[in-house]
């Protein structure tokens, strides 16, 4: 597209629209490079693997003997994943719980923290640092903290409260135990994003609301929150991505088994390692892609709608 405009601009001899100017050969080369490199990167690193995964998901291949040894088996992988793979439906459920938890608990909590800290209370910086700290820690470290806190025999929680709960081994509890720590991290992340957003909200809006006699909750709901719309879109995308790419913490805890299955874990378990089930794992990856694409489409749709209105 860019090169087209450049070309026509050149042919006419006069710029067609205000901003399109005559381009020198150097500029055109620079533009070409700027287009070609991203195309290669996106094509090679995003689209090719995506379509390769989709293709492989219809085959049975153990990764030995080149791609020609892959056997086409149609939708058999999908059928097996959905019918006889005991980890699959729990994984879908856990990903959805993860998403719901981040959306309805962790993210609002992050917003709450940001809103409170935005009031310039004393020690605000200190609190910010404390809440943000878990975001800086790698998930591997958090995974290790999980161990310290929840170990049934040596852990902090059982030691402190004298309880005897198997926090990480009991499949009906461990997801929630892990989610507490995930939320602890996610809330800090969201808090920083919202803090930046809140700083950008014109204080006169709030003052006006206060003058009109709006209570704090009312002012937040009808004035401040709508003004945060641009940042909200970012937050939604971040939250969805965090929920779907969740991996590290459960992998560290118990390799993502026994109550902590996630789609990303199933993909890795099947593809990485010896005698890999590349086709089978790919079909789960494709399912994960579909889950991820839905929110992205919604996001893109909304952004375009905004630009059209503008």
């Amino acid at each position: 597209m860019t090169t087209d405009i450049a070309a026509t601009g050149q042919a006419d001899g006069t710029p067609r629209k205000g901003r399109a100017v005559r381009l020198s050969v150097r500029d055109r080369i620079a533009l070409a490079i700027m287009v070609v490199i991203p195309v290669i990167v996106v094509g090679g690193l995003v689209w090719f693997p995506t379509f390769a995964s989709i293709g492989l998901s219809f085959t049975s291949w153990d990764g030995i003997g080149g791609i020609t040894s892959a056997k086409w088996i149609g939708t058999e992988n999908y059928h097996q994943v959905a019918t006889i793979y005991p980890g699959f439906w729990p994984a879908v459920r856990h990903n959805l719980i993860w998403l719901a938890y981040l959306t309805f608990v962790a993210t609002p909590f992050g917003l709450f923290l940001a809103y409170q800290l935005d009031k310039e209370m004393r020690g605000s910086r200190v609190y910010q640092s404390i809440f943000f700290l878990p975001v800086v820690l790698s998930f591997a470290i958090i995974g290790f903290i999980v161990q310290l806190v929840y170990s049934p025999t040596q852990g902090l929680v059982n030691g402190l409260f004298g309880t005897d709960v198997d926090w990480l081994g009991d499949p009906s509890i461990n997801l929630w135990a892990v989610l507490v720590l995930v939320g602890w991290r996610h809330a800090g992340y969201i808090m920083i994003l919202y803090l930046a957003g809140l700083k950008a909200v014109d204080p006169s809006l709030r003052e006006a609301a206060a003058m009109d006699g709006a209570g704090e909750w009312h002012a937040f709901r009808t004035v401040v929150f709508p003004a945060l719309r641009p940042i909200n879109i970012v937050i939604v995308v971040v939250t969805v991505i965090e929920a779907l790419r969740a991996f590290d913490i459960v992998f560290i805890v118990n390799k993502g088994r026994n109550g902590l299955e996630l789609l990303s874990i199933l993909v890795t378990n099947n593809i990485i390692g010896e005698a890999s089930r590349v086709g089978y794992g790919s079909s789960i990856a494709v399912i994960l892609i579909v889950f991820s694409i839905i929110p992205i489409i919604v996001f893109v749709w909304n952004s375009f709608k905004d630009t059209e209105q503008a």
Partner: protein
Amino acid sequence: MSDVRGHSPDAPETGHSSLTRRKLVVAGAAGAAAAYGLSAGGASASGLGASIFRKSTAGTVTFGSNASDPVPKGAYANVFKAFTAKTGTKVDVNTVDHNTFQEQINSYLQGQPQDVFTWFAGYRLQFFAQKGLLTPIDDVWATLKPQFASAFQNASKGADGKFYFVPIYAYPWAVHYRKSLFAAKGYKIPKTWAQFIALCKKMQADGITPIAFTDKDGWPAMGTFDILNMRINGYDFHIRLMAGKARWDGPQVKKVFNTWREILPYTSDGALGLTWQEGAQQLLNKEAGMYLLGTFVGQQFTGADAKDLDFFAYPAINPKWGQDSIDAPIDGFAMTKKAKNTKEAKQLLTFLGSAAAENIYLKSDPNNFGANKGVNTSKYTATQKKSAALVAKTAHIAQFLDRDTRPDFASTVMIPAIQQFLNKPEDVNSLVKSIQKQKVAIFGS
């Protein structure tokens, strides 16, 4: 992610016994490193790929090693020094992190592998032999044959009956206990299932957890499945089951799970949240009386405690089989199909199989015992002596579930299945049906 490396004694594990600050830091770093290695799968692959740039010259043999821990690494260095001194052939070693080596084995063998590499006996050997990624070494075995017991010979063969593997050492899975505790309480080593159950009841009455049992990492419980299956249905059925040739939903496997259920009340609470080290601590602190594990459990015992640690063979269940089988994973070496220095590689394999090489190796690795019959046992520790004696008198040696079956079946089917059993022990029927369906999907029949 298999698990397997877990039962290799050198795997780093978090969740150590005493929570001293230093240990935490170290273990945390290990966990972080593990996670990094995973997320950077591509990067670690390049570690293997680096071998491409190693040019092999005449009189050199290349060796791909998974012995990334200092102790075995140093032990191999000594072995190779002796080899070079003896033959004049140099050994060019490329050591890769233990877990990475295992996970990348597919691409490693298909890429530019070294001539000889460290590997495991059993189905995992046969699988790659069948895929045509290994070179048969029958000529090497012409020399080695008289030096190995038949169990080790059989473990070194592919499904086609040719030799593909040279064993160096093995370690048995047995029931560990503390001699002092048994002496103080008057416990007797159980030979039969009835005696075993009676002992469990007695221990429970004494306020001791009879059987330490841990399965957070997914693989330790496989040892219990293996031994129960071999005790109940015999070694041949076990191996056929592992190879995908027997049914999982038949009465045999159901019997295994039902028998297992009998001892579940006597095992550690919350086994699915415990690492094998935590189980070892229960045994060490005399909170638990017995612990079925590989002899690497000894890593958690030092000084007088180590001397107090002993083990016995799992009690017999079906008198038809008695105590005739055991899990004793064998480690050793194989030669890649793409080996460039064939002559030197075979020279090295012959040397690695010799008693002389094993003597050098075992000097620095007291948790395993030598595979060669001629190994000098005079310097053996008590554990090594007992291990060697136990395995020698056992007719059939299995390699452990995740080495005896397809790796994908072990990690994606059996680990979750056993954990599901431990969560819902009463639901055996639907469990074995689910395993059978997945087995058919993976094995193709």
